[in-house]
Amino acid sequence: MDSNTIVSWPRMSENIEGFALSPNKSEEVHVLAVDDSLVDRKVIERLLKVLACKVTAVDSGLRALQLLGLLDEQKIPSETNGFAGLKVDLIITDYCMPGMTGYELLKKIKESSTFKETPVVIMSSENVLPRIDRCLEEGAEDFIVKPVKLSDVKRLKDYMTTKEAKVEGQVREGILKRKLLDTSDVSSSSPPSISSSSSTSVIDSPIRRLKMTSTD
């Protein structure tokens, strides 16, 4: 039995590599971009749209928290609070902003119960290693030095799978592992990219590589 038996699985309208850029609107990746600079907002918006993402761009950390329903006055549960259903797959924020910095926003997001699993990426025009370290330690997924290019945003694709696709990816991994264990003739070729892509994406991040070498 060769690995082509996977094609019998359901939901094959999605890219098998699990990046899930399917045309289905509900599975469209939604990115929240936070930057006080209008020029930068326009650029990041376009970069993300080119990669088929839905983008919401706001000009401050405060507005971002408002949108996510994380402002203190919004934490009181109420029927009128419609934020419970807001789907955000990635948050990308500038570091230097008046009022709330990107770092402070990152902390607030990671402290929340609703969005602490959402990947947060920091952008900064300054390549300051202690700043990068601080953000990564606080749970940032990645750090991009401005000006932001298409190659930077393409790298973020690894984090931009929707929650559904992530769960499915894990389910597929689980099923695949069981399948491999079941069949006596386990092929020597590595399993399809579904499982390897999610693990290599973490190691492939240049920031992670940078962090690993800097601790030597």
Partner: protein, 157 residues
């Protein structure tokens, strides 16, 4: 005849771009913006650049105002404006303007009034130059699109 004109304009546009790159006025980030322009977003570059012009003029006015203050100049505030100016300039690939902002900011860090005045003059001059050249570029691009569209309506990418 019209098609020939479009080719000449295309050559003009590329010559101007090459010149601006060679002079260090623009860098590869400008190319990145051009790559993001397509049929879905045909005016992306000029839209972003026009926002940049609008913001930059406000920042330059603020900087001049702060520096001309009779009392003590607010160097910290100037630094904040310069950070903004630097950021947006680098985002559109305006390399020379960005570099002058860096030097200007260093002068504000030292509260060096003379240095700041010199830097402001250079910045205003450089910004003016950039604005003129980019306007020229957009004009050629518009003419080319017009001419190419008239001659080869089907071929228009």
């Amino acid at each position: 005849m019209l098609g020939f004109g479009a080719d000449l304009l295309w050559a003009d546009m590329n010559r101007l771009l090459a010149f601006l790159f060679h002079q260090g006025v623009l860098d590869e980030q400008f190319l990145q913006l051009q790559q993001l322009q397509d049929e879905a977003s045909p005016n992306f570059v000029s839209e972003v650049v026009n926002i940049y012009f609008h913001e930059s003029e406000k920042l330059l006015n603020n900087l001049r105002g702060l520096l001309m203050e009779r009392e003590l100049s607010d160097y910290k505030k100037m630094g904040i404006h310069l950070n903004q100016f630097m950021g947006s300039s680098s985002s559109i690939g305006a390399k020379r303007v960005t570099n002058i902002c860096v030097a200007f900011r260093a002068a504000t860090d030292q509260s060096n009034r003379a240095g700041c005045l010199r830097a402001l003059e250079m910045l205003e001059h450089e910004y003016c130059y950039l604005k003129n050249k980019l306007h020229e570029l957009f004009q050629i691009e518009q003419q080319r699109a017009l001419v190419a569209g008239v001659r080869y309506p089907v071929q228009n990418q």
